[in-house]
Symmetry: C2
Subunit: 300 residues, 2 copies
């Protein structure tokens, strides 16, 4: 049986899409439920300016409490810059990821930097925290809302650049949900052929209903891990038209049927997804919570 590594991003990508602030204790409770379902790696929060994303203003509390309450789960945080990395490490994070958009214009819209500035900041983070695992999320790999399609050649150059800074964990992100299966398979194969020593994750938005097929295609073509989001929450405020991530419960259900080992207790995961839907539904702005699996249960 093949093993699929599930990375839960609801507490970051999911919660940041919720307009009304979710109390820190509620976030911590949900993180605990997700960890208790057997998910081994969870993106607990992001250390960003509260002016940019107010929903994440309690990052230090959420991060430190998550680590304290579930010491055996791998928690990591998204950081846009060195300052964020400092805060994350101060809160106890042993692992962080930063983000660079493959598209220059999306990188500027999302984090107000050129590629060179982003790589320079990544270098500073690596040098400041040599003991911390630093991963990179490459955004808009499969298409950009401003520039349209991105080339594999550009992607390989970006992977080369972050690899040169010692980064080995790279997540390829379909920020606006335009990826399709053959593209995902091709991108995964190209990345692995050129960088066999690196580990590639995948992060798919379900905008055009291809979250499930693209995520599975990535796994079948060598992705080390798949980022998913309980209850299908998520979306990028700077990517017009972007909607939620692939729902964890839907994806795990399919993986089990397809013969992949996830180490996750499906009923507990469903409980967490239901809790999210029942307790924070109604506070979304334009996003549609995918509750198909929670609604239908696991009847047969």
């Amino acid at each position: 049986m093949r093993e699929a590594k599930i990375v839960e991003v609801c507490p970051r990508d999911g919660f940041q899409s919720v307009e009304r602030h979710i109390p820190a204790e509620e976030k911590i409770k949900i993180i605990g439920m997700l960890a208790d379902s057997g998910i081994k790696k969870i993106q607990a929060t992001s250390f960003v300016s509260p002016k940019a994303i107010a929903q994440m203003r309690d990052a230090s509390l959420v991060m430190s409490e998550a680590i304290k309450q579930r010491p055996h789960t791998r928690f990591f945080a998204l950081v846009p810059n060195l300052r964020g990395a400092e805060s994350a490490v101060a809160a106890g994070a042993k692992e962080i990821t930063t983000v660079i958009s493959l598209s220059k214009s999306h990188n500027m819209a999302n984090i107000r930097r050129t590629h060179e500035q982003s790589l320079e900041e990544l270098k500073r983070i690596r040098e400041s925290f040599p003991e911390i695992t630093v991963g990179v999320d490459i955004a808009t790999v499969f298409g950009c809302p401003f520039e349209g399609p991105q080339t594999v050649a550009e992607l390989l150059r970006m992977i080369e650049a972050v690899s040169a800074l010692g980064v080995r964990e790279i997540t390829l992100c379909d920020t606006i949900g335009v990826a399709y299966p053959k593209q995902v398979a091709n991108v995964m194969r190209e990345a692995l052929v050129h960088f066999p020593g690196s580990s590639f994750g995948i992060h798919i938005h379900d905008t055009r209903n291809m979250g499930m097929i693209n995520s599975l295609t990535a796994l079948e073509n060598g992705a080390e891990s798949v980022q998913v989001c309980a209850a299908g929450l998520g979306g990028c405020p700077f990517a017009p038209g972007a909607s939620g991530n692939t729902a964890t419960e839907d994806f795990v259900y399919m993986l089990e049927k397809e013969g992949w080992e996830t180490g996750i207790n499906f009923e507990k995961l469903l409980e967490a997804a239901r809790y999210i839907v029942q307790n924070i539904e109604g506070v979304f702005s334009g996003h549609q919570v995918n509750i198909t699996t929670p609604q239908a249960g696991s009847c047969c």
Copy 2:
């Protein structure tokens, strides 16, 4: 480029899930929009007892008007029995399908018949209308809400039984959305190996978010056609937990990206899906309209 035959079922499976009656002229308008997008085969309605499904009480008018207004589109109707077949033919239908559930208990709940009674009725329909193409939808092929999993052996026996009555067009239906890709691939291959002279379609409900991947898997494993439903409407009133069908616009978008020829104008299809969402949204009971593609458009 491979060709994918799209069969649109929104006017039947979609509209029957809408509680408030959609006026016949509205149905006919939407059918016209779908036909004008390039979809060549459309399930226009079903000829059922108005007591069972009141939404379909205008079947004769919808069927005859559809045929009159779009003479080059293949319209067909679902009929539960000989009486329905008579009404369909009287309304001008040249093609009908009837339904038998692989699960005995679902067949009883859905059409109040044993398998033997269903096959007997199919025989009567075939004998009464030898000039009409009669197809069969086999429901609950991939799982039943009452009995759980169904076996491939049982399916092959059912295909044998309907084939013995001269039926060559068979649609395998995942009535409650429990199918998974490996199962779909296996069922398609088994059906084709044992009945190479028959044509098999697939009909998938998106309950667990596997509509896209299962429908594509069926095509890749020899399905002749795929039933989909504009705006992702649909659901079976006798299958607890069932939700909408695979959305036509999402599936066609993916097919085009994957290199399949559909003969459909995507922008016109999107227009029809948007029209459905904007004009009959809010009248659903418990179903979630999949509007991800219409919302996000075809920006890149």
